[in-house]
Amino acid sequence: MAKAIETMHNIRKRELGPFDSGVSKTTAWSKMAGAVVLVVLIGIAAGCGGPEREIRRTLDRLAEELSKNGQESVVSMVNKGQKIGEYLADPCEIELPEWMMSGPQRRQDLVQMALGVRGSFSSFKVSFLEVQVELLPSGEADVTAVVKVSGDSEDLSKALNRGEVSLGMRIDQGRWEVIRIQPVEAIRK
């Protein structure tokens, strides 16, 4: 009887292989895989914290303010303009030669331009996607993002649709603001 039990134990040991603490191979691999996934998720969460996360949130809020959902009253438009202006430095460097804007521009002028564009369309949504942040030793940040514009107006969607932009940002009184906007030229004739 004892010999039978001993034989059974040896057989089980052989089956279990190196995991002979009584844990099956499948369970051990599952635990390892789960641990790896957990470590990766913690790493991602840690990497996404701090200034990078603040900048992403700032751009999300700016995109919300730039977007338009239906007709707006004059008061709403003025409020929107003020809110959009809070995200821009004064002056702000712009490189939009197709829009006849190049060099430092006053915040007020940029806000007026943004409101003008918004007024031309009934509704559209602006999003900043694939945001990549590089913090500089000076405390500023170089940000590249994909700007996506979608709306019910074919003209707007076709004109702007999706493009890469490079933004310079700095922190001022606890808030990140945009100091430079430049489209990224992916292809040049």
């Binding site: 499948t26 369970t27 599952s30 694939e130 994909v146 992916a186 292809i187 004739k189």
Partner: protein, 164 residues
Amino acid sequence: MKRWVTTFLFPRVTRRFLLRVVALVVVALLVFGYVLIPLYLDGKSMEPTLKDGSFRFCWVPSYWRSDPEVGDVVAVRFGGKRRFLAKRIVAREGESVSFVDGKLHVDGVAVTEPYVLLPCDWNLESRVVDPGHFYVIGDNRSVALDQHVFGQVSRGRITGKIIP
């Protein structure tokens, strides 16, 4: 046979089965996200080589160890990681590109392009491709010059070769 079909369609949800599903999903995400990228072609700029509305794959490892070659049809990252231009490489860095009466010239020599089947009347001054760049153009040049998106792109934006 019936039992096999039933087992295949309605497998027992065991831990091993779940692990296999997770592994399959991870592998699929890695392969179709970084190695063999599926592309839906929206536009006519590469017709007749690549039809508008067709479906292709971009083979990323083509350029892991080597540079693109002239004549390759490539996917160029255009608007973030999910939007590409499908174009053909016509010139490398240091070479000059121009169009004379619809004919492509590279370094002053007219290029024979059997893949361009539609008429073209472009005229474009000579320009030299910058270091680290390639010149890409679509095969369909029957539209106006300013309506066709083409030009030089950096090597880093060329994601892979489009499988015909």
